[in-house]
Amino acid sequence: MRIEAVNLKFAYGEKTVLDGVSFRLAAGSLCALIGPNGSGKTTLLKILSSVLKPARGRVLLDGRPLGSFAPRELARTLAVVSQGGDAGYLFTVEELVSMGRAPYLGRFQSETASDKEIVRQVLELTGCLYLKDRLVSRLSGGERQRVSIARALAQQPRVLLLDEPTSHLDIGYQREILDLLKQLNMAEGMTVVAVLHDLNLASYFAGTLFLLNKGKIEAAGPPSEVVTAEHIASVYRTGVLVTPHPVLGTPHVFLLPVQRGLNSRKNYRVHVLAGGGSAGELLRDLAEAGYDVSAGVLNVGDSDWEAARALGLPVVEEAPFSPISPARHAENLSLVREAKAVILAEAPVGHGNILNLQAATEALRGNTPLFIMEERPARPRDFTGGEGERLLRALKQNGGRVINEKARLYRALRELNSGDQLNQLQNLPGLTVDQERVV
């Protein structure tokens, strides 16, 4: 069933909650309403279900105004699952779900065999058949939610509205409920609209997203168009990274570290040679600790590149999936020379980025301390057929210090900073503490 909203406005007293919401949702859509707290999601859902009357504007179901439906007719057309599921604690599950047949029964009519069969089917579909004689008060949160959905399905609606059907549920139940809704949508062509809090669940679940902000629809469309870093940053006022779900390709939102104020700056340049997602955490920790961090050479789109960009760090960047060009290598070398310490992250080494190892030798040549991260030495990381391995070994033999956990790196950097006597440290035998681990 097609749902249209035309310029909906609603206010609780003085407080405007919806400020001109219009949309058109095709029949058989699977739609999630997302948005920050207080953006008007639940109010919109209540207007769509006719619990609240909009101050202005109207809702049309297949072109027919919502207000023209008689209550029982509407209950046969549209069903609602409210947050936390149904009350009715003293009823059994079967009794509760049977109430979904009420819009089809006359005042003195009792349930017919076909009503009972429908109840049995929806109990089976929602996986609640084994619960049918249980009291509603004895159900867990996930079970209650499923029973509520079964009750709504017993109404045989063409539109199903749900308010946060997954809140307070663990990830297993969340998935179960969303998959059930998806299945109903696919199999029956039921139009499903759900308020969802979790952006990633919403992207995983819905074909259409409405992003609400301050009573207006900020963005509408498929997840890839709605869940973008720009939209999320402006609506939720927080920096995020949006990357495709590794399997599904739907957008997935990650929190990003925030840049700190300048007062904790140490005015101490650290250059990180990274790539392949080896240094995101490292970059964040260093930036948060107040070091002037630079990074290179990173391919655009690489997750280390994303991290550095989010942190606002200077980066030598190369085109996606391209080998490091001489020009970028030269830039990288100059950053290495400017740094007071250079860190070689535990990145895989291939023909494309072997120049990053070359750049590390430049640090040793300039007497700059070089820290070689090796938290997982057992993992193969040389994909150059021996060349990378040889270079690494040379770096270690010529004064590169092997670090096997980040905490040690940070301690060493602190010591460097407080002493600020590079030469002195350089001469300390301790600089090569982990010599026993050198191959």
């Binding site: 006719s50 209550p71 209950a75 609602v80 149904d86 604690y89 009823f91 509760l96 819009p103 005042r107």
Partner: protein
């Protein structure tokens, strides 16, 4: 199962009293009067005094007790379901007081001003009940819900106020005080067939309305929003049921004064056995309420025989401890 129990109760209760009549004799009197076993000739061997006691004194009283008990239990069931509040009953929410105050006014008007018309007392009682309900409901409502605590508080406030009104009326009409007092304290004594016919329409019609709306009552237990989503016209249904419950209460109060706790304990006890489905709960409560009040009245007649107690005292002795135990239970155990 409850129907035979009620029949046995009626016969036994008609037999018991300060002058005991054997139950078998009682049964024969009743059956013959109903034209079921041989007519007047069949009871020729029974003394006329015994026939008189059974047929003209005991039986109307017992039947009236049954009707009042059924009325109060049904009204209590409806109030509890509608307000989703397990401590609601006509007495606790002030509806009985409203009915009583208005009925007192009607009695005084009749005696002092000579005003009279059919069903005058019940209709006054009904108006009083609806007004009291209106006040209590609006006082107790917080954001569309009627929480236990505010409902009881509002009920207490309105009841106290109305008691004061009743006391004032009784002082103003000092010479008629005794009769009103006796009626008010909740008694079934001195009741005749006439009273029975007077009250009969109220529980019968009310019961029919309740039963017709029993599915809505069930659905309303899910909350008003959920009921709306299931196609129930919530506001209309609430009005119909609240007015009906007030009417049924008013009928009971008009003939028997203030009998407390029946509407509270009977629905509770029955719900424990039948569950919350009003299609079963309502008739079962009505029958149990009838049985309970008839036996309470037997106790009222016989405990201090030949002195009679108002039956309201007996129900209060039984009901108050029950009420306290309900209050003491954890809130989530008595939720619907």
């Amino acid at each position: 199962m409850l129907l035979p129990a009620l029949a046995v109760t009626l016969v036994l209760a008609a037999a018991l009293g300060s002058v005991a009549v054997h139950p078998a004799v009682t049964l024969r009197v009743v059956l013959s009067r109903l034209g079921l076993s041989g007519g007047p000739a069949g009871i020729a061997d029974i003394p006329a005094s015994a026939v008189n006691i059974v047929w003209n004194l005991r039986l109307p009283r017992v039947l009236l007790g049954a009707l009042v008990g059924a009325s109060l239990a049904m009204a209590g069931t409806a109030f509890q379901g509608l307000l989703r509040n397990p401590l609601a009953d006509p007495f606790t929410i002030g509806v009985s007081s409203g009915a009583a105050a208005a009925a007192t006014v009607a009695l005084l008007l009749r005696q002092l001003a000579g005003l009279n018309f059919p069903h005058m007392v019940p209709l006054f009682a009904f108006a009083g009940a609806v007004m009291a309900l209106f006040f209590v409901y609006n006082l107790a409502r917080i954001g569309g819900r009627v929480p236990v605590v505010t409902l009881l508080l509002a009920g207490v406030v309105v009841s106290s106020f109305l008691s004061a009104v009743i006391s004032m009326l009784m002082v103003l009409a000092a010479q008629n005080m005794h009769g009103i007092f006796f009626w008010l304290s909740g008694g079934l004594m001195m009741r005749s067939w006439q009273h029975l016919w007077l009250i009969l329409p109220y529980p019968v019609l009310g019961g029919a309305v309740f039963f017709a709306y029993s599915r809505e009552l069930n659905i309303l237990l899910l909350g008003e929003e959920a009921a709306h989503h299931l196609g129930v016209r919530v506001e209309t249904t609430k009005k119909v049921l609240l007015v009906t419950a007030s009417l049924v209460t008013a009928g009971a109060v008009a003939v028997s004064g203030m009998i407390g706790f029946v509407g509270l304990i009977i629905p509770h006890a029955v719900r424990m056995v039948t569950g919350p489905d009003h299609r079963v709960l309502l008739p079962a409560s009505a029958l149990c309420g009838a049985i309970f009040l008839v036996w309470a009245d037997v106790a009222a007649r016989t405990v201090m025989s030949p002195q009679e107690l108002p039956v309201g005292i007996i129900t209060a002795f039984v009901g108050a401890p029950f009420f306290i135990s309900l209050l003491r239970r954890k809130k989530n155990e008595i939720r619907f």
